[in-house]
């Protein structure tokens, strides 16, 4: 009898367990509709949640754009989530507006000399740090030189200042050699060693934010780890930072444009787990989240609070051109054409990526300010959207290369780390290349080992990707330059290098544009790498947030946002 009770109980719990597991899928489907309701409901909840924070009538926006940033020292940061913090707490000489155009930041005007080598920036009157002390051109001079300091070892030093005269000496320790001079308190003069038409974008790049010399020297690297010493000059300053929990930014009354700032503060919740961040959004504890669990996307996609917006970057494959058979451009092209990009982006990646038929996707800006992609290949995509025709062409190319139906083609390995969609893409590639008669093995490599392996050229084919730092196309086209540190495929083409060289030296905008497009023509014709999909940012955002925008750099601009009642 007792045994029977026990057995009954066990079955009962098992059934309960099963229904709990099964139930997870079914409610998830209407979970979408549910969550739409919860977001509208969350209106009221938010006032509750917000009221705890705003007991003294303060308007504080709670958002989530990533976990704890590794660093928020402008000189040291190289990540997008750190960049979002810098964007709101600092302001560079120039800034980027909602339409991606350069606008005055700390500098109210700037001009370039005829030869393109001298850039002069005029600072606004009465600029101040968040601690109310004065900010002058000297501060910029100090900060920019600091970026070159080998003891600081800034990862982006060469990217943002490599074209400035005296950089080579500065990077080895002679900081004063860098030709960045504060002529007076309000004028900063920069001399370049070669013209750089996009230097304005760099002057708006977070690495070149001003930092306060006295604070940095008094605290060393630790200045950027605590709210008390984190002196900034942007629309907000950090008033509280609990690592692993949140960063609270408060409105900076000393900011020149403080009148335009409507929020009293922004609370950045440093949530790492996707499901945790979704829960926080659904309960109304935060109004916007960047980390959305992939398995929830199908149910969230149709909601009006789910956003997908392109960022400048491409998910691509590197083929090791130093190894046979990848040294044959026909083989590379065949492998590329065998991929159904629409299926990968819209089905496998659930529409969170867009199919990439070019290398340079939307968001890259041509020299005349138009979209680079619109002018590429005469307005046509390089790879046809007709997959069936592509596949036929791929088979033909492989036959031309001496491997009809894949006969005699060596077995190849595709290496990737296991994150997000990487594994499903790898499995798809196996399938896609099998149609050409090619046998591909997948090798999953742990992240920290993956990067050096790829960089050393110790692979056949591998996943790769790039998200742009600034919207000039050279930022991504440089990846395939023969000696570039990120040229993982070891692509080496004299014509390509020549086109990139020309784009760096010419002062003529049309010629420069032509050179950059020529480079992409060569890249796609030679299949220097295999573009698969363009990156997008996708996120959930309550419609209570007004006046915010998302930029193709992967940044959210909340500084001019407001919370609708």
């Amino acid at each position: 009898m007792k045994k029977r009770v026990l057995a009954l109980l066990l079955t009962a719990t098992m059934i309960l367990g099963l229904t709990a597991c099964g139930g997870k899928d079914t409610p998830a489907a209407d979970g979408g509709a549910d969550s739409a309701q919860t977001t509208t409901e969350s209106g009221t909840d938010n006032e509750d949640a917000a009221s705890t924070e705003t007991s003294d009538g303060e308007k504080i926006l709670s958002v989530q754009v990533g976990p704890d940033p590794e660093t928020i020292d402008p000189a040291l940061n190289s990540a997008v989530d750190g960049g979002n913090m810098l964007l709101h707490s600092f302001e560079c000489l120039l800034a980027v507006d909602e339409d991606g155009q350069l606008i005055p930041g700390q500098a109210e005007s700037w001009e370039t000399s005829e030869d393109g080598l001298t850039w002069t920036f005029h600072l606004r009157d009465g600029l101040k740090w968040s601690d109310s002390s004065d900010l002058t051109a000297k501060d910029f001079e100090y900060s920019w030189k600091r970026v070159c300091d080998p003891m600081v070892a800034a990862p982006y030093a060469e990217t943002v200042l490599g074209m400035v005269a005296g950089f080579d000496e500065a990077i080895t320790g002679d900081l004063d050699a860098l030709q960045v001079v504060a002529q007076d308190d309000k004028t900063l003069v920069v001399t370049l060693k070669n013209p750089c038409s996009y230097f304005g974008s760099l002057a708006a790049f977070a690495t070149l934010s001003p930092v306060q010399q006295a604070t940095v020297e008094a605290n060393g690297d630790a200045w950027a780890t605590a709210a008390e010493t984190y002196i900034s000059n942007g629309p907000f300053y950090i008033s509280e930072w609990v690592p692993g929990s949140h960063i609270l930014m408060s409105k900076n009354p000393n900011y020149w444009n403080a009148d335009a700032i409507k929020l009293d503060g922004i609370k950045w919740h440093l949530i790492e787990d996707d499901n945790a961040s979704l829960s926080a959004y659904q309960t109304g504890e935060v109004l916007m989240i960047k980390s959305v669990p992939a398995e929830e996307i199908p149910s969230l996609r149709e909601n009006s609070d789910f956003y997908v917006d392109p960022i400048i970057g491409t998910y691509y494959l590197s083929l090791n051109t130093a190894r046979a058979p990848f040294d044959d451009a026909r083989v590379r092209k065949a492998l590329s054409l065998a991929i159904d990009r629409d299926y990968v982006a819209n089905t496998l990646m659930q529409g969170t990526y867009s199919p990439a038929y070019n290398f340079m996707g939307p968001g890259w800006v041509d020299t005349d300010g138009s979209q680079f992609i619109d002018n590429a290949n005469g307005g046509q995509t390089y790879i046809s959207e007709d997959y069936e025709a592509n596949l036929e062409e791929a088979k033909q190319l492989l036959a031309d290369a001496g491997y009809p139906d894949g006969a005699g083609f060596p077995s190849i390995v595709y290496s990737t780390n296991d994150q997000a969609y990487h594994k499903v893409v790898a499995e798809y590639l196996q399938e896609a290349w099998a149609q050409l008669g090619i046998d591909c093995k997948v090798d999953i490599v742990e992240w920290a080992s993956f990067t050096p392996m790829r960089r050393n050229g110790d692979y056949d084919s591998s996943r790769n990707g790039w998200v742009g730092d600034y919207s000039d196309p050279s930022n991504m086209l440089d990846l395939l330059y023969s000696t570039n540190g990120n040229n993982d495929g070891k692509f080496n083409n004299a014509e390509y290098d020549a086109a990139m060289e020309l784009s760096r030296t010419t002062l003529d905008a049309a010629e420069r544009s032509q050179a950059l497009h020529t480079a992409e023509d060569i890249l796609m014709e030679e299949t220097a790498c295999v573009p698969v999909a363009y990156y997008n940012d996708f996120w959930l955002q309550s419609d209570k947030i007004t006046g915010s925008w998302h930029s193709p750099y992967g940044y959210w601009y909340f500084m001019y946002a407001d919370i609708a009642e």
Binding site: P150, P155, G244, L270, E272, A276, E285, A448, P452, G485
Partner: protein, 305 residues
């Protein structure tokens, strides 16, 4: 007893040194490094970084530098979290984990021991079966499932409890349930089986025969003997729980130490790997010594030498 403690401390130092040395060489054998990212940083910048943190020196020299610094109490700077020292990270995050973990261990003890005793006393009755089922579930269900279920029901659907952070007592409820779930179940089972063992002993029968009241038999005679296996388990368990759980802290957004163990390895933050490993090893060893001493207090027959 003092002599015993001194001996154990000496042994502990040797153990910690061995753990540190093994970790040091193992982590350096694994490919990868702390200054790698998807975007290659320039060779100059990499060289400057390596020079700054002494990674350009030969491995053996780095090892000896590390050991001498560590003996002076300097565990170095984190290589990834620029501007923070390893000590400052542990000092900042350990108290958070320790608070949540400590409460969870208390809950596990307060629930596990009595329930285990009850199950043993009511052996074969309905209550025993019920407790068995619950404890089996507790052991079999992994913590991330518990976390997700709690979050989904109490947090998102019923909106009874806040889902993230640790700002009020309400915030502690879900993480504490999740963290104490497994140890409670385990203690219950341990307690039940050792209690059953003790209840069958001759001296229990003698006590009963002499007419000692039911409660007193249990409390004074049975409990003391039955609790020893629990003490053995609780020592190391305490060390693990107070240093934080990766899963629970991640899900409930608790700024504790748990995530640092995993994060440090993934990011090849060598100094932080060393720091957290040595810290955990030290705690476990201390807990083991404490367990031995508690043994002696509980059971005078045990001789520490």
């Amino acid at each position: 007893m003092l002599k015993y403690v001194a001996k154990r401390i000496l042994l502990a130092i040797v153990t910690i040194w061995a753990v540190g040395t093994l970790t040091f060489f193992l982590m350096n054998m694994v490919p990868g490094g702390p200054f790698l990212s998807e975007k290659a940083i320039s060779p100059q910048a990499t060289a400057a970084l390596e020079a700054k943190y002494g990674l350009d020196k030969p491995l053996l020299q780095r090892y000896f530098t590390y050991i001498t610094d560590a003996l002076k109490g300097d565990f170095g700077d984190s290589l990834k979290q620029r501007g923070r020292t390893v000590m400052s990270i542990i000092k900042m995050k350990f108290p958070v984990s320790a608070r949540v973990g400590g409460i969870s261990v208390l809950v596990a003890l307060c629930l596990g021991i009595p329930l285990g005793c009850i199950a043993a006393l009511k052996r074969g009755k309905f209550l025993d079966s019920l407790i068995s089922v619950v404890s089996t579930c507790g052991i079999a269900v992994p913590s991330f499932v518990v976390c997700t279920l709690l979050m989904y029901t109490l947090g998102v659907n019923l909106k009874l409890l806040p889902t993230m952070g640790l700002t009020s007592w309400k915030h502690y409820i879900m993480p504490v349930i999740a963290l104490s779930f497994y140890p409670t179940a385990y203690i219950m089972r341990l307690m039940r089986s050792s209690m059953l063992d003790v209840l069958g002993q001759d001296y229990m029968r003698t006590a009963k025969a002499k007419g000692v009241a039911g409660f007193w038999i249990l409390f004074k005679h049975a409990m003391r003997n039955a609790i020893l296996p629990v003490v053995t388990y609780v020592g190391p368990m305490l060390a693990y729980t107070v240093t934080g759980s990766f899963v629970v802290e991640k899900i409930f957004v608790i700024p504790g130490l748990g995530g640092e163990f995993i994060g440090a390895i993934g990011g090849r933050d060598y100094t932080l790997i060393m720091g957290t490993t040595i810290f955990l090893a030290t705690l476990i060893i201390i807990m083991n010594v404490v367990v031995d001493i508690v043994y002696k207090l509980v059971d005078p027959r045990i001789n520490l030498k």
